[in-house]
């Protein structure tokens, strides 16, 4: 397990030139309102904002960094993709659509029919298609594979009945990629089929589930005799579990959120440099400055490990789960530090605060609390830390229960 493998850390001229090119572009192309939302820790940020940014990137040919050239990707090296993602974050730009560019696009390129590629890839690349993910179900929780939402064969079509839950941004999405039960006779991982569902199909209703901090991204989606053409099936019938997991693994790849956390940590520093303490500022405080250093070290550990694992990508397995476990942990640590930095103002609910002219806080701080609460989800969704630890125990440590 202890590979002597040095992470890519060196700095070539080429890559620095590329980095500069990306920076210049972002500075010119990024609309101010989007930048402001990102700087406010993405508070109020919606899939429509992502779409707008995707369109801008798409014009430059950069909206789908990992796609091959023949499907409209920029043909970047892995390192270029890595630098691109970092520069987006450090220049307060939104990242590219995780679902479209990062997950479903690559899965379509890998497993889709030619017809599917033609129908979907352009819309995924230019932001026209806004996706939501239909995996979770009310009674399944972390036990994803026990899903029950049925898709019954009817001629060439499937007819879906049941419900999906925790569906992020379902009110914005025009398509869903979802896992549905097509056979209940075998073990639970068998008999699952992955379908692309037009959200405008009759029989779909979306019910928002507000989160406790006031967010509205979550929904429950109900299906009542929703008819989906067989041509929208990705991969073989009943074999959707492995494709679904493949797609999830693509998510887990960038799920350490190193770049975003790095940008957040910068904003904590900004705040600490402005918040008064005794006769100086918080950033000069022995304790707080060391907390910042500690958070920086923790983040650096994740970053370096991510680089080490990603750049040795060919045999990247369940080890990558550790990146999500630790990356989300560090992110929660950093956003909590932001709230702490605000001192007594850390108790304020931002809704009213941001409306006020005389708000005493730096711009970046306005939504710290809300985002702090919202980010509790990171260790729950996309594979909870508990489930990921189970996976590592089983797959990497080869422990049996």
């Amino acid at each position: 397990m202890c590979a002597f493998y040095l992470p890519g850390g060196g700095v070539s001229e080429d890559i620095e030139q590329f980095r500069e090119e990306v920076r210049v572009f972002i500075r010119e192309a990024l609309p101010d309102d989007l930048r402001r939302k990102v700087r406010r820790e993405h508070a109020g940020f919606t899939p429509a904002d992502t779409s707008r940014w995707m369109r801008i990137l798409h014009e430059r040919g950069w909206s789908c960094p990992s796609w091959p050239v023949e499907h409209g990707g920029p043909g970047w090296s892995f390192e270029q993709q890595y630098v691109f993602e970092r520069e987006l974050a450090l220049n307060d730009a939104p990242h590219v659509s995780v679902f479209s560019a990062g997950m479903v696009g690559p899965a379509l390129i890998e497993f889709g029919t030619e017809d599917q590629k033609e129908r979907f890839l352009p819309g995924l690349a230019n932001g026209d298609i806004i996706l939501c993910q239909g995996y979770s179900e009310p009674d399944a929780g972390s036990d994803l594979a026990s899903l029950k939402c049925r898709a019954d064969r009817d001629g060439d079509d499937y007819v879906i009945n049941g419900s999906k839950i925790w569906t992020s941004d379902a009110t914005w999405a025009n398509w869903m990629f979802g896992l549905f039960r097509t056979d209940s006779s075998g073990r639970k991982q068998h008999g699952i089929t992955l379908l692309l569902v037009d959200m405008a199909t009759p029989g779909i209703s979306v019910h928002p589930i507000p989160t406790f901090e006031g967010g509205e991204e979550l929904n429950q989606v109900f299906f009542e005799n929703v008819r989906v053409p067989g041509a929208n099936r990705l991969g073989p019938e009943h074999e959707g579990w492995s494709i679904g997991k493949y797609i999830l693994s693509l998510e887990r790849f960038g799920s350490a959120e190193v770049s975003r956390t790095m940008a957040m940590l910068d904003r904590v520093r900004e705040i600490a440099a402005r918040e008064p303490l005794r006769d100086g500022y918080l950033i000069d405080d022995a304790d707080f400055s060391k907390k910042l250093v500690r958070a920086g070290i923790a983040l650096r550990q994740v970053e370096l490990t991510e680089r080490r694992l990603l750049f040795a990508a060919d045999d990247l397995g369940a080890e990558a789960s550790l990146l999500k476990i630790k990356g989300t942990e560090v992110q929660q640590q950093v956003i909590s530090l932001m709230v702490e930095a605000l001192g007594p103002y850390g108790q304020l609910d931002p809704e009213d605060m941001s409306a006020r002219d005389n708000a005493p806080l730096p711009d970046a701080a306005h939504h710290a609390g809300k985002v702090c609460f919202n980010l509790r989800k990171s260790t729950i969704w996309g594979g909870s830390s508990e489930v990921l630890r189970n996976i590592i125990a089983r797959s990497v440590l080869e422990l049996r229960s």
């Binding site: 929780g141 026990s146 406790f212 709230v339 103002y345 108790q347 304020l348 005493p360 509790r376 969704w381």
Partner: protein, 382 residues
């Protein structure tokens, strides 16, 4: 040597718990938070009737003659039931500021009303440059033409929106961070020059920014002399800390108990979640956190009128604050997705814990106070 609560206190605690269970189920609590005042006026009236406002005040001021233990009982129940409203602001902060200060006239003027539920007070002490330091006071009160003029700005004033009278810490003399020269001033909320900007805190309570633009006050409104103001303020804040620790402890117990119940029933992987050993051990750690924190609450409460006050209170604030945060975060995590939703209480307990940590000095602040106090250096050896 050991004393439990009196029978009266136990009866009071039980009645309060029953009242809140009956009248403030979570959905109604949520509806109350969404009202302009942020609390349920009807429930508030019943709390007044039960004696919550009067419990901790001496009988001579219209109270029931209780003290810190009554505040602790109320805090624990309010934390459990996520009660909002200006109890902390009016009774614990404003009311005790007047009680501990030196103006008999003001005690007679406002305390019976506070105890009887007809008047609300607030205490305004936070300033932008002060962070958590009570003695860092830039708001000034200066003699001018036989009267006094109060100028400055106070932030995050709990219950400022509802208060009839606001007790303000102000500097009568000395430099901004001097410990001497601070007085407490009673200011009617409708006095000319008082401007209030209302905001809300994460826990649903209302807090205000209070702008004091040359507010004229007379000598009788000065509740303390300049050499007494800080001592009174510190004593009030310590009472408030003991109270919010009790509140946080109640909240923790509630999170622990509901999380435990949830995991006992929630099925996943064909078993109850509560049967997974890794989760069991984490529940045990929540339980331990609750027990340990409760001990600190009792200790701080008992110490309020003893020389150990400062040490016990700061210790409790650090220990209970951090535990409350940790327990609530774990509660959300162990609930899974459902823990993230608006209609399930656990997330709101987390908000309450975050507010508690940001109020009255965070862990670093109190660790600093403790580290620089001689008591922390003293040997237990004799």
């Amino acid at each position: 040597m050991t004393e439990g609560l009196t029978d009266d206190q136990k009866t009071f605690a039980d009645s309060l718990d029953r009242l809140l269970t009956d009248t403030l189920p979570f959905a109604r609590r949520q509806a109350a938070v969404a009202t302009p005042g942020g609390f349920d006026e009807d429930v508030w009236r019943q709390l007044v009737e039960l004696g919550c406002m009067a419990a901790a005040f001496p009988e001579e001021h219209g109270g029931l003659g209780g003290g810190p233990e009554e505040l602790m009982i109320i805090g624990e129940k309010f934390g459990r039931h996520l009660v909002t409203g200006p109890f902390l602001a009016s009774v614990v902060l404003g009311g005790h500021a007047v009680l501990f200060a030196d103006s008999d006239a003001w005690k007679a003027r406002v305390l019976p009303g506070v105890a009887g539920g007809t008047k609300k007070l607030a205490l305004a002490w936070v300033e932008r440059q002060a962070r958590h330091d009570l003695h860092d006071v830039a708001t000034s009160v200066r003699a001018a033409n036989g009267r006094w003029v109060l100028s400055g700005r106070k932030d995050v004033v709990p219950g400022g929106a509802q208060a009839d009278v606001i007790v303000v810490s102000a500097r009568a003399s000395g430099d901004r961070r001097d410990r001497d020269g601070i007085v407490l001033v009673a200011v009617p909320a409708d006095a000319p020059g008082v401007v209030r900007l209302d905001e809300r805190a994460h826990d649903g309570n209302r807090v205000s920014t209070i702008l004091l633009d040359g507010v004229e006050v007379d000598e009788t409104q000065l509740l303390t002399t300049p050499d007494r103001g800080l001592a009174v303020l510190e004593r009030v804040i310590d009472h408030a800390i003991a109270y919010v620790c009790a509140d946080a402890a109640g909240s923790m117990w509630q999170v622990f108990e509901t999380t435990l119940e949830y995991l006992k029933t929630r099925q996943q992987f064909d078993r109850t979640l509560g049967s997974f050993q890794a989760l069991q051990h984490r529940l045990v750690d929540l339980y331990i956190d609750c027990e340990l924190s409760w001990s600190m609450v009792l200790d701080a409460t008992q110490a309020l009128d003893t020389p150990q006050r400062r040490h016990a209170v700061s210790s409790a604030k650090v220990a209970v604050g951090e535990s409350a945060r940790r327990v609530a975060e774990e509660g959300v995590q162990l609930h899974g997705g459902i823990g993230m939703t608006m209609d399930v209480p656990v997330g709101h307990h987390l908000k309450r814990a975050v507010v508690m940590n940001a109020s009255f000095g965070d862990a670093d602040h109190h660790l600093g106070l403790l580290a620089s106090s001689p008591v922390s250096r003293e040997s237990n050896h004799v």
